[in-house]
Every structure is written in C-alpha cells, then in structure tokens.
C-alpha cells in the first residue's frame, strides 16, 4: 500500500469532488465549518459523508458487480427488505444483534439468488436483478404490511446515528467496509479474477478461474452491502420504511461506480474511486439543499453536473487534452 504514489490520488474524480465542494462553499460560506458538539463532529462536510455513506456502501458492492460486466438493480429493494427484517425482529423482542444478523442473512440470500440467476442460469444481469428489484420491495412491504415499523432498539439506532471517534457510525462503517473490501480484492487474487471475468469470461474460465463461484460471490457481496446500507438507513430514522427505503438508490450506486471510473463493460475497477463517486453525488445533493434553490430545479442541476463530470472524464476530453498539450509543446519549441 505504501507504494501508491500521491499522484494517483489526483485524478478527475478527486478533482470533481473538490470542485463540487468548492461550489458548495461558494453557495454557502459555512460549508467547511466543522464543530465539536456532544462528543461528535458536526458540520455540512460531515453531513456529506454521513448521508453519502449508504450510497457509498452500495457502490462498494456495485463496483465489484459492474467490474464483472454485470449490474445489480436490486440493491434498493434489498435495503428495504433488510431494514424491514431488522425492524420486525427487534419489535418481536429479539436483541439488536440478532436483528442485524437476520438482516445480513437476508442480504446474503438475495445476493446468492441474483448470483445464481446470473452465473448458473446465464440470465442477463440487468433482467436477473430486475426480478428482485420489483418483487423485493413487495416482500419488504409484506413484512411491514406497508407501514413504517418504528423501533428504538439501541443497537440499530447506534448503527444508524451513533458515533465513533467523533465520526458518525455510517461513515465509520462505510470506511471500514471500503478498506476491508479493497484489501480483500487487492491482497488476494480476487480483484484480478474479477477483472479477468469482466473482460472476457470465457477466456478467464479457460485459464482456470472458477467464474461461476466468483460471480455468485460478487453478487452476494453486493447483497450484503445493500443489507448493511438498509440497516443504516433504518437505524437512522429509527424505523423501517419499506415503501421508500433505498428507492432509486440503485441508480445512484451505479452512477457512483461509473463516476468512479469503472466501466459498465466490465474490467478495471476501483472501490475507493467509487466511494469518491458516491461522495460527489452526495455533495451535489447537499449543495442543492443548502443553496436554497426551489426544489423543482434539483433534477436539472443534477443532470447538468453529471454530464459535466462525465464529459471531463471521457476519453474524448483526454484526447483533446493531449492534443492541446502536443500543440502547446510544438508552439513552444
């Protein structure tokens, strides 16, 4: 890890993040103010991290899935299911840790289901996961019967709103997960295998990679990540809102991965950059919030920002840049 040069941290993603943060600062001068309050850090920047955590966690799993040339549309629904299961478990008198384990088990099961459809039945990922995207929310509503199951279990509430070393728990969890998964894929051969399967599944299989097992694992991890995000979101509002928890967040997670530079065609991926992508999206949302513009402009602003970021990242812009560079050098010589 020591070998990562600082230069690698300067790229379009981090520049975009800094740009969006600066923009927020211009719109709202108090943006960078951070205070210590009630034993925790407090400020807009912390909010960006805290609110960005669920999408960042989804993006961690999603990135691995996308790197295998797949996509997981079901994560939003899995979040809802996990939250619903955790809430009903604590309401039925189970201790918090049982609820957490139960929710994680649900996420894992959903991931295995998706993985089985994709890897064993060879169904295209977008459609395979669409099934659970539709049915999953129904199952979540079935569990809660459409209402918000409110709870006050300290474990769940701590996961959603507690703090550790002054940082909100969701941020701590996202950070830990990011480091864990990054180590898991980069310190083992799994990362290489994921990229190989994403680039050319047939060739990877012939080279001895158990691509089916790998795919199932990757979807399972995505399901687990979704479950964690679901627990956080439920803990945050002390209630499982099966109707709205995670609604459309799969799109944000995919967007985060793509902004983070992972190609939807599979192959190279970076978990850290996807997390940065999630933060860019959240910084945008928070910026819109604090800017005070009427809400009907939200989507237009978001569309404009996304287009801008993707343009900067596109190979075309890269070519333009080298072309300018070359011309300038020519001019100078």
């Amino acid at each position: 890890m020591t070998r990562i040069p600082l230069a690698r941290l300067v790229n379009t993603q981090t520049i975009a993040l800094v740009g969006v943060l600066l923009l927020n600062w211009i719109l709202f001068p108090g943006f960078f103010k951070i205070e210590w309050q009630d034993g925790r850090l407090f400020g807009s920047l912390i909010d960006v991290l805290n609110r960005g955590a669920p999408v960042a966690i989804l993006a961690i799993g999603m990135t691995a899935v996308i790197a295998t040339k797949g996509v997981d549309l079901s994560v939003g629904a899995v979040m809802a299911m996990a939250g619903a299961v955790a809430a009903t478990l604590v309401m039925s008198g189970q201790p918090g840790w049982v609820a957490v384990l139960g929710a994680l088990a649900v996420g894992l099961a959903c991931g295995l289901w998706n993985g089985a459809l994709v890897a064993l039945l060879d169904i295209q990922p977008i459609i395979a996961t669409l099934v659970l995207m539709v049915a999953g929310r129904g199952i979540a509503q079935l569990i809660t019967e459409g209402s918000i199951v409110t709870f006050s279990d300290p474990t769940l509430v701590f996961i959603g709103t507690g703090s550790f070393l002054g940082l909100p728990m969701p941020v701590v969890i996202a950070l830990a997960l990011m480091i864990l998964v990054t180590l898991a894929v980069r310190k083992t051969a799994i990362g290489l295998f994921i990229e190989a399967v994403g680039v050319n599944r047939s060739a990877a299989t012939l080279a001895g990679i158990r691509s089916r097992l790998l795919l199932v694992t990757v979807y399972a991890v995505s399901g687990l990540c979704a479950a964690i995000a679901g627990i956080i979101v439920a803990g945050d509002i002390r209630g499982a809102d099966a109707n709205n928890a995670g609604l459309w967040l799969e799109l944000d997670a995919i967007l985060a991965a793509v902004i983070g530079g992972t190609s939807l065609l599979g192959g190279r991926f970076s978990i850290v950059m996807s997390v940065v992508g999630a933060l860019i999206i959240q910084a945008m949302n928070t910026g819109i919030l604090v800017s005070g513009y009427p809400p009907e402009f939200n989507l237009v602003v978001k569309a404009g920002m996304i287009t801008l970021i993707l343009m900067i990242q596109s190979p075309f812009a890269g070519r333009l840049l080298t072309w300018f560079g070359r011309n300038r050098r020519k001019g100078a010589s």
Partner: protein, 325 residues
C-alpha cells in the same frame, strides 16, 4: 425454420398459453372489451417500446423514455392551454424538441464514449426536471381537437372499443417492423448491436446511426407522450414514471437480447401484450394487496425469462444436433 425466430415463437406460445389459462379462470377476459382495452391502455407503452427495441438491438439502452413522455405531455399541454397553440402545432414543436434531445444523447454516447446507461440516465433527470421546472401542476388540455381524437373509436361487437390510439400503436409496430427488417437503417442497427467494431470496419456509418437510433427512440417516446396526453387530456410532470423499465421488460420478454444484435419488433408487441395481460389478470383477481402485486409481477417476470432461457438453450442444442445429422 430460421433459428432466430424460435425465441419469438416461444414468446407467442407462452402468451397464448398464459392467456388461455387466464380466460379459463376468468371467462370475462375473452370479451372484446378487454381486447380493445389491451390496445388502448398499452398504446403509449407499446409506442415507446418500439423505440426501445431499436435501442436495445443496437446494444444500447434508453432510460429517458418515461421522462420524455412526461416532458412531452407537459410541453404540449402548456403550449395548448397556456399559449393557445393548435394541438398539431404543439405536437410539431414537441417532436422537434424530442428529436434534438435524442440526437444530443446520441452525440454524447458516440463522441464522448460515455455508456448509454449513464447518458440516458442524465437525460432522464434532465427531462423530468425540465418538466417540473415548466410546471409542477398537472395541466389539463381542453381543446376540441383533443376531445375529437380521444373519443375516436370504433365499437366492436360485445361492447369493446377499438380506439384511435390503439390503432396508432399497431401502425407504429408495423412501420417499426418494416424499418427494422427491411431498410438499410434497420440493418445498421442490428450491425451495431452485433459488433460495433466490425460494423464500422464494414462501412456502417456508426456515428450517424447511433444518433439516429436515439433520435428515433426519443421521437417515439414523444409520440407516446402525445398519446398519453390524448389518453389523459392533460400534461403532468410526474406522468409515466418508470415506464422505461416496463418498456425494457416488454422488449426483453419479446425475445430481444439486451446484449444487442438479436430481436424482433413484433416480439416487443407480444411482450407488451403479456405485461398487459398480467396486469389485467391481477385486476380481475382483485384480491392482491399492493405488496403481493409487486411480488407476483416479479415472479411472473422471473418465470418468463427462465422459460425463455430454457427455450433458447433447447433451440441452441437442437441446432447442433441438426447440423450433425
């Protein structure tokens, strides 16, 4: 028989079996009323799905269609109700806007090499946001032309109605099928989906075709938006949310491969009818709660794709045997 026709045949057979089973349970499903409603109620979805079929055959995806439908409705309504335009003029304006919008997405996809999923997602935000910037309210359209067109239908024996918009959808499907299977543009679309590199080396004008595909999809979404506004006599920024997923579902159930290169416009028609059948069945049943509705739809989707998978696998195996014989 041409082996590429098999998934299509499979879809048709699945539809017929499903329909027969549903009729067996609810004989009322066989009435001309229900059949007429199939066409009318799914007209806008069908029209949008034709555009989606082209996009998916070319190996892309268009997430913006639902938003374009909503935007078109709002634009048309505002032009007619607030500014007093004639509906036909409003339609023309909407088509121009939609075509420009689709072309812009196509240009970004081709020249900036950003994946269609993301470009059209941004397009979806833009169109949806644009509509709610224009108005947040639902704007009613009260114009003689509108009432004339939306009450244009032919009565079928048994109380059913064959509406203008229903027939319009059928016409779009027919024209779409001809364009896909019998024109150069159509062959370019399949070529792009088959292998974009090969296509470009074979002389397919990739840039132009990509732009045309997304323009076509947006224009058809716009037509769907007009139909939707005829259907509801109003424009509403939140109209047709998530229709893109229904359209994708219909296209895939209709036997078109999301990886591109294979597919049938007619298959999409069957896919739309199948989705319509599922919904109608659920309505006739009338006991499913909100959540069971979702679960059942998801389960049926699963059933269809697995069935299709099996048919595909069987037909692939059958081919190899046939060649050996």
């Amino acid at each position: 028989m041409n082996r590429s026709l098999r998934p299509l045949l499979a879809t048709v057979i699945i539809f017929l079996i499903a329909y027969a089973a549903a009729v067996f349970q609810f004989p009322g499903l066989l009435s001309t009323r229900v059949l007429g409603n199939f066409l009318t109620d799914n007209a806008f979805l069908g029209i949008a799905a034709v555009g989606m079929t082209f996009v998916i055959i070319s190996g892309g995806i268009d997430l913006s269609v639902g938003a374009v439908i909503g935007f078109t409705g709002v634009l048309v309504a505002v032009l007619i109700t607030w500014l007093g335009w004639h509906p036909l003029a409003a339609f023309a304006a909407a088509f121009v806007v939609a075509a420009a919008f689709g072309a812009a997405m196509g240009l970004v996809i081709h020249y900036l090499e950003v994946p269609p999923f993301i470009v059209t997602l941004a397009g979806m935000f833009l169109a949806r946001g644009g509509a709610s910037v224009i108005t947040q309210d639902s704007v009613p359209i009260d114009h003689p032309f509108y009432s004339a067109v939306s009450s244009l239908y032919w009565r079928l024996p048994g109380g059913g109605r064959l509406s203008f918009v229903g027939l319009l959808m059928v016409a779009v499907f027919v024209i779409g099928a001809i364009v896909a299977h019998r024109t150069k543009f159509g062959s370019y679309v399949y070529a792009l989906g088959g292998n974009a590199t090969s296509a470009s080396l074979m002389g397919v004008p990739v840039a132009r075709t990509t732009v045309e595909i997304y323009t076509l999809s947006s224009v058809l979404a716009c037509l769907a938006g007009i139909v939707f506004s005829l259907y509801t006599s109003a424009g509403y920024p939140l109209a047709a949310v998530g229709v893109e997923l229904d359209a994708i579902g219909a296209v895939v159930i209709g036997g078109t491969l999301l990886t591109g290169g294979y597919g049938f416009v007619f298959g999409t028609f069957v896919g739309v009818m199948l989705l319509g059948l599922v919904q109608t069945y659920i309505i006739f049943d009338g006991t499913l709660s909100s959540w069971w509705t979702k679960i059942v739809i998801g389960f049926l989707l699963f059933l269809f794709i697995v069935l299709q998978r099996l048919v595909f696998a069987a037909s692939a195996r059958g081919d190899r045997v046939a060649e050996k014989a």
